[in-house]
Amino acid sequence: MFKKPTLTTTLIIIVGFLTLCPVIMLLLGSFSQDFVSFGQFTTVKYVEAYTDPDFADILWNTVIFTGGSALVATLLALFLAYVNTRTDLPFKFIFKVIAIVPMMIPHILFSVSWVLLLNPSNGTLNRLFMDLFGLTDALFDIYTLPGMILVEGLLDLPIAYLIIAPAMSAFDVSLEESSKVCGASNLRTLMRVTLPVLRPAILASAILVIVRSLASFAVPSVIGMPGRIYVLSTHIYRNIATGFAADFGKAAAIGMSALAASITLIYVYRYLTSESGKFVTISSRGFKPTLIKLKNAKYPMFLIVGFLSFILILLPVLVLFYTSMLPYSMVPSAKAFSMMSWDNWIEVLKDPISLLSLKNSLFLGVVGATIGTTLSIFVSYVIVKVRSTASGILESLSFLSFSFPGIVIGVGFMWFFVRTPIYGTLTALLIGYIATYLPYGIRPISSAFVQIHSHLEESSRVCGAGPFYTMRRIVIPLLIPGIVSGWILMASMFLRELTLSVVLSRPGTEVLAVQILHFAEDGLWGPLSALGIIMIFISSALVILAAVLGSKLTKMEVVK
């Protein structure tokens, strides 16, 4: 096949280009006046960006928004993980659902559904409360920092849960037991023993949520911008979105600080997760902790958990579907139900731009995931099987893009694409997508490669099978589940992609999420909801497929 060193070098060049090109172009761009005078060094954009009188406010908003989201997501995750691993709460399958299902709902649609519920002028929930209790003011204005924090916190809850839950269940229960033997109550034990021991996992979760919310664009654009609350990502967007006066130099200069913050945080996160092994005492005895009996608190507790999963999963879909059937927003009533029709759906399916965006997103999803998966197969092969200094470099390069905020990478790529003929084409989006989401493909495929111990191939050879027969019956069957779930994961990320597309998408290359953002900016909630439900349907189908295949993959792991 390939000579190994050349394969590794080729991949380093490709992946290196994909991950480093936008960063380098961003850096160079931030020191340029505009696209035309690229390369003539100037610091004027930095001066402009950082002496802007609004900038301090934006920074402050960003700190509150990211920190608040981290707090909400981590506290909720702690609560859920504790209830799941330590109490006798019934129906525990619901926790699995909470951890996976929100990934099916694109962030922009989740945000929109909260706007529909809680916007101050005609949010359904607000109106409902005003009618019921005769209030004159809205119950809760979503277009505020607390509103943004609430929604972003809920969106990042699954991530936080996936970090905290394993730490909670790996935790050595004898530490708690000895505290109780010393006479401490459950609550005291929780505060004095459990939480301090879990500190690294809690910190790691908080930091990851901060990175996520720093890169988040859906919530700041759909909820923040109408309330004139700008954070770094929307501030960057504001500088490039105003058609004729787009200032990519200033956007790059601002982007540099978002990038720096994000890389620093990821570095701290890595440090914490590598240290945490020493901190969390993992019990090898495999004892099940004795579950705390909730007794009378059982049903109230279950209600809380059930309510959380309802607002995370069901509510957004219901709200969107409800809105998609109505000509304008109104509180559920007999009148509302009598006015329901498919008009919005018909309108969307006749709207040429919506159709184009659907077509483009499907194309990007299918073609992008196919190319991305192919690249991931080669990269994973080198990372897992070649094991050299060069393959180590490749591994670091491939996972670097995890720490880059999408909108910043978009600005970096923009500086590159304007100098090439692919500017404003779907190819530009394709390259950007693959560069940003490569880790999503490499993760499952490299774990499939790890599973194929060299002895599995070698024993086939000794059993009388030639190299091709071995490929056909051993290697490929073992790889397929990983490849399929990598493909589906990438395809569903690409279908819903917003942050990168918002920068790179031009007239003619609209994609679903951008079209939805435009609908939101124009207040066209009906068509938006119809298109959104279509999007959720496609992406849920993909995620379910991935989960099924993924569970098959884990079942295949060799029993030690």
């Binding site: 111990h453 002895h455 086939s460 059993c463 009388g464 792991e557 060799v558 029993v559």
Partner: protein, 362 residues
């Protein structure tokens, strides 16, 4: 089938250093015997095994399997593993996780396009042999360690190869299961009348299973012999020390007496086996195993090979005492019958049987 290896060399390079994994190995493995390669970890056993099956290409040398030359660096011959017709049990068992037991075992027959009904018969026979009847449809991932090991064995045997190779097949089992499986393996292999090459670093496994043991060190074969020869009368100090606990006593050969020799040692003169015919006057080493140091009531002057010493430590371990006896500057370890009536600090007399202590060239 006999296997002949000539001048086999394999070097690895890592971090700029050369490692001689195989250093000019000459070896003949006789047909239909259980032949064990024994040596400390990293001495090149696996490398040798992988060269024989064809998973590794040596730098130089020749390998014959029966009359077929399967590797020759000079004549540029390399027969790939699939055409060598061998069976192998890997250290990890290498059971394919996406197949059930039947497909795992049937695989070697499927590669050679055997008719389906014959495959079914052969698989059933192989599974019966390893006592896994009725496991055909069990998924490979639902097997315990011991069962995986048997499936691996059935797979290696199903195509009825003339040679079967094992790379530390018991090292992944827990201690108790390892002992049981060792016994079973011994009875399987004796029943089969097949050439078996068995790699291990565990001396008890080697002694218990083998017809012949080859002891390796640093890419070289040091000594080949049957288990008793290796244990009771090895030619090399390294081998004597590696195969079991040994007291090594320095001295000089004083006088030859047929098979034996009188050995002037640090603790006195000893009559010992001298199979290597070490000449008079040469420095040598006496090896006596702890279980052959016998307590005696006789006194030194009353017989040959009797010495007086001090019981310095004595630890009761159930089936015996483990003791250390001091004679001058020499400390000898010994195992003593648990019924003996002695305590630490006793003056004692010990005796060596001349046939159970032997001389090694120093």
């Amino acid at each position: 089938m006999e296997i002949r290896i000539k001048g086999l060399t394999r070097n690895y390079y890592s971090e700029g250093k050369q490692i001689k994994a195989l250093d000019n190995v000459d070896l003949t493995i006789p047909a239909n015997k259980i032949f064990t390669l024994l040596g400390p970890s990293g001495c090149g056993k696996t490398t040798l095994l992988r060269c024989i099956v064809g998973l590794e290409t040596p730098d130089a040398g020749e390998i014959y399997i029966g009359d077929d030359l399967v590797w020759s660096s000079e004549k540029n011959i390399f027969v790939p593993p699939e055409n060598r017709g061998l069976g192998m049990v890997f250290q990890t068992y290498a059971i394919w996780p996406h197949m059930n037991v039947f497909d795992n075992v049937a695989y070697p027959l499927q590669t050679s396009k055997t008719p389906k009904d014959i495959i079914r018969q052969q698989v059933a026979k192989a599974l019966n042999f390893v006592q896994l009847d009725g496991f055909e449809s069990r998924p490979a991932t639902k097997l315990s360690g011991g069962q995986q090991q048997r499936v691996a064995l059935a797979r290696a045997l199903v195509a009825e190869p003339k040679v079967i190779l094992f790379d530390e097949p018991l090292s992944n089992l827990d201690a108790k299961l390892r002992e049981e499986t060792r016994k079973e393996l011994r009875s399987f292999l004796t029943e089969l009348k097949i050439t078996a090459i068995y790699v291990t670093h565990d001396r008890i496994e080697a002694l218990a299973l083998s017809d012949l043991i080859a002891v390796m060190r640093a890419g070289k074969i040091i000594e080949i012999g049957d288990p008793k020869k290796i244990y009771f009368n090895s030619d090399h100090k390294f081998v004597a020390d590696f195969i079991g606990r040994a007291n090594l006593i320095k001295g000089k050969v004083e006088k030859l007496e047929g098979e034996h020799a009188i050995f002037a040692s640090e603790i006195g003169s000893i009559l010992a086996l001298n199979s290597q015919r070490i000449p008079v006057g040469q420095d040598a080493m006496l090896c006596v195993r702890p279980e052959f140091i016998r307590l005696t009531s006789e006194h030194k002057d009353q017989g040959q090979n009797i010495f007086r010493g001090l019981m310095e430590t004595l630890i009761f371990i159930g089936e015996a005492y483990e003791g250390e006896i001091r004679i001058g500057d020499t400390l000898l370890t010994t195992t003593i019958e648990p019924t003996e009536n002695i305590v630490e600090g006793d003056d004692i007399s010990i005796a060596f049987d001349p046939d159970h202590c032997f001389l090694l060239s120093a």
